[in-house]
């Protein structure tokens, strides 16, 4: 029997309490008098949040191990306060079979620093032509419930409809990368006056919102669950608001970077800021924050997308798209949502832990820190600001848009299955 006592943490930013954890389960919340052999974490002044859950992570393994592996990716996750990550399917081979999703899950178990929940591809090879083995992946040991061709839009309407119909009986969800491909040929950044000025091909907002409009109607027609990945535009927020008011089973995520960065970052052609969907206008950022605050957007998901240095040190058009985000997500949410008064810490726990776990049907994660719950905890010091450097990044890649920028707060300790995966900022 191992006992861990967290002393004096403010639960969800509320009253301070001691958490007593035995064999991975919370057995006491309140005042503890720990046994002599218990490990004690002094959490005086720290916030306790449920261990975070990321619905959208690229771990790159198998196939792209020069960018990230499951083992390095979960180090980044732990450092960011995460207890579970959903691993996107765009690996090589693509996670479109039982073999690949079970391999990814097994790699996660071996790494042991956070739960790795595989996402299955919607279509074979992400090619958008034939459905992958959705049912077999759902029934496999990996227990897949989220399916996504992320990186590619399932743009064939009939295929999207069939996918929604097919996953409905086992309560699966299709997570759509909403990007109408014919509207984004040659797209390099948000379509805007700045794109005209910089001479970069535009990625118009309507290429996202038109797909979301179609898909919420397909979700309504099929009665199935739709999840919209990385919402980036004000128009999409309007569509989601309409769909939710109508009772359509749709959920949506926003990335940390879309909550705080705008297209203005593209001005210097620094490819660290190249991402898909692109950074948008200030008005979009405002709309996304408001939507996250009022529940129109359900969760924050990182879209952690590691790339090696070479893929970013290039001319803009030749550079890879994507940013790492696991280590900085909570800090960005603190700055953009908490310090602006849009969310309290209970709200943060909702959008970064409980709701993502519920959308992904991942039991045992993201719930309240109460007696009987699995002990996944993030202990956070919200005070102070830290300039972000590569020493804050624990994955294999350093393509963070926040390097050199100061962000608030700090994940001090992370507890996963009752064990400390991060201790005073140091990953185990």
């Amino acid at each position: 029997m191992t006992t861990l006592v967290v002393r004096g943490a403010r639960i969800l930013g509320g009253d301070a309490a001691d958490l007593t954890i035995v064999d991975g389960i919370i057995v006491g919340v309140g005042s503890a008098s720990p046994a002599a052999d218990a490990t004690v974490i002094d959490a005086d002044g720290l916030l306790a949040l449920p261990g975070l859950v990321d619905l959208h992570t690229h771990l790159r393994e198998p196939g792209f191990e020069q960018s990230e592996t499951v083992a390095t990716g979960v180090r980044a996750a732990a450092a960011g306060g995460y207890a579970a990550v959903f691993a996107m399917a765009n690996t090589r081979p693509v996670a479109d079979t039982v073999a690949v999703v079970e391999q990814v899950a097994e790699l996660g178990r071996r790494a042991g620093l956070a739960h790795v929940q595989p996402i299955g591809a919607v279509t074979v090879g992400l090619a958008g032509e034939r459905l992958a083995d959705l049912g077999m992946m759902a029934r496999s040991a990996a227990n897949v419930r989220v399916f996504s061709d992320d990186g590619h839009c399932v743009h064939d309407a009939q295929l999207m409809r069939r996918a929604l119909e097919y996953v409905a009986p086992f309560d699966g969800v299709i997570a759509q990368h909403a990007q109408e491909p014919t509207l984004t040929v040659g797209a390099q950044m948000h379509e805007s006056p700045l794109a005209g000025e910089l001479g970069l091909g535009g990625w118009p907002s309507v290429a996202e919102s038109s797909i979301v409009a179609r898909d919420v109607l397909l979700a309504e027609a099929t009665g199935a669950r739709l999840h919209v990945c990385h919402v980036s535009t004000a128009e999409t927020v309007d569509v989601l608001r309409w769909a939710k008011a109508r009772g359509i089973r749709v959920t949506a995520e926003v990335t940390p970077h879309h909550l705080i960065l705008t297209e203005e970052e593209v001005r210097g052609y620094d490819a660290r800021f190249k991402v898909n969907p692109p950074l948008r206008a200030a008005g979009d950022v405002d709309a996304l924050r408001a939507a996250l605050a009022d529940g129109t957007i359900d969760v924050v998901a990182t879209d952690h997308a590691p790339h090696p240095v070479e893929a970013k040190q290039a001319a803009w058009a030749d550079a890879a798209m994507g940013m790492v985000g696991l280590e900085t997500a909570l800090a960005v949410v603190q700055e953009s949502m908490v310090e602006t008064g849009l969310l309290d810490w209970a709200g943060v726990a909702r959008v970064m832990a409980s709701t993502p776990a519920r959308i992904g049907r991942l039991d045992g994660f993201g719930g309240a820190l109460e007696v009987g719950a699995a002990a996944h905890v993030a202990l956070v010091d919200p005070a102070g600001r830290t300039p972000i450097g590569t020493e804050h990044l624990h994955g294999r890649s350093t393509n963070s848009p926040f390097l050199g920028r100061s962000l608030p707060g700090r994940v001090v300790h992370t507890i996963y299955q009752g064990r400390q995966t991060v201790s005073d900022g140091v990953v185990a």
């Binding site: 005209g196 001479g199 091909g201 210097g268 620094d270 070479e310």
Partner: protein
């Protein structure tokens, strides 16, 4: 000014360059076309896209200033892939050259290159972004035709310039739309609606899709842009016939200009498409003066950025 990446210059910076170009321009009248200003300096023309006129123009400009000029082509060699850009430029940089003149198919490529190496970088055209020396030579040719030998120190105040055609894909248009208003010109952008960039309303220029209206307003200068219809027919405009019908400087439209409007084109021209031969070869055509101005302006740019520098 450390590099020349953009035509977004102040009026004073632009006039300074144009005035140096006036001095340089006199070399055309000499038998012995060699100034010692950049003796011992090495300039590399690094062109990742095909170019005849711009590359030759920079080469002549460098040579007339006594610089050693090396041409490196990115096309078809090991440097044609984007991933190799950094290796290519740092390799050339390490050879101890003084300046790099570069053309690249990706917008912003010279901006990132300038952040990687200590040498001066001159943008000779990047993607669909900018072509600052083209805008400078256009301004120079225009100023010379209007003010003649009294050009020095002057801008283009009140000069009405229309830029016509595929503005969306044109780095020439972008650079001119930045430089000409800074010099006091009144710019109008005209083209098919699908070929006007997003945010055209925020430019320091009027804009319209009605080319006939622009022709009938008889601007002081009409700059026709090269259109690459083989890439754009069917998506940006329905057909060559539609383009010619709406936006070509046909003999009929040229006649309506009345003979006073200066006709400009950055070349190479698609005769019979965006411009008719009648217009291109008329007395009002500035096309060959633009080419000559290219050498003078590029001499001025290299001189301004490289002469007297000891820190590279």
């Amino acid at each position: 000014m450390r590099h020349l990446l953009t035509a977004a210059l102040t009026r004073d910076e632009a006039i300074e360059l144009l005035d140096i170009a006036e001095d340089m321009d006199q070399i055309h009248e000499r038998d012995q076309k060699k100034l010692p200003a950049l003796r011992g300096r090495t300039v590399v023309n690094l062109f990742f896209e095909d170019s005849t006129r711009t590359r030759s123009s920079f080469e002549i400009a460098g040579k007339w200033l006594s610089a050693d000029v090396i041409n490196v082509s990115g096309k078809g060699s090991s440097v044609s892939k984007g991933e190799d850009l950094r290796d290519t430029v740092t390799t050339i940089s390490a050879m101890g050259v003084d300046g790099i003149v570069m053309r690249h198919g990706a917008s912003g490529a010279p901006n990132v290159v300038a952040s990687w190496i200590p040498q001066i970088v001159v943008n000779a055209g990047d993607g669909t972004h900018e072509h600052p020396t083209q805008a400078l030579l256009d301004a120079f040719a225009l100023r010379r035709r209007i003010h003649g030998d009294a050009s020095r120190g002057k801008g283009l105040d009140g000069v009405r310039v229309a830029i016509a055609g595929d503005v969306l894909h044109s780095r020439v248009a972008r650079s001119n739309a930045l430089l000409l208003p800074a010099l006091g010109a009144e710019v109008t952008i005209v083209g098919p609606p699908s070929m006007l960039p997003p945010g055209i309303g925020t430019w320091q220029a009027a804009h319209t899709t009605d080319f006939d209206e622009v022709v009938d307003s008889r601007p002081d200068a009409l700059m026709m842009l090269r259109v690459q219809l083989e890439r754009q027919t069917g998506t940006f405009v329905p057909s060559a016939g539609e383009y010619i019908g709406g936006w070509s400087l046909t003999p009929e439209r040229f006649a309506r200009l009345g003979g006073e409007t200066l006709v400009m084109h950055p070349g190479p021209m698609n005769r019979g498409l965006e411009i008719s031969s009648v217009a291109a070869d008329a007395a009002a055509s500035l096309v060959l003066e633009q080419v000559r101005a290219g050498v003078s302006v590029r001499m001025a740019v290299l001189y301004r950025l490289l002469a007297g520098r000891t820190d590279s």
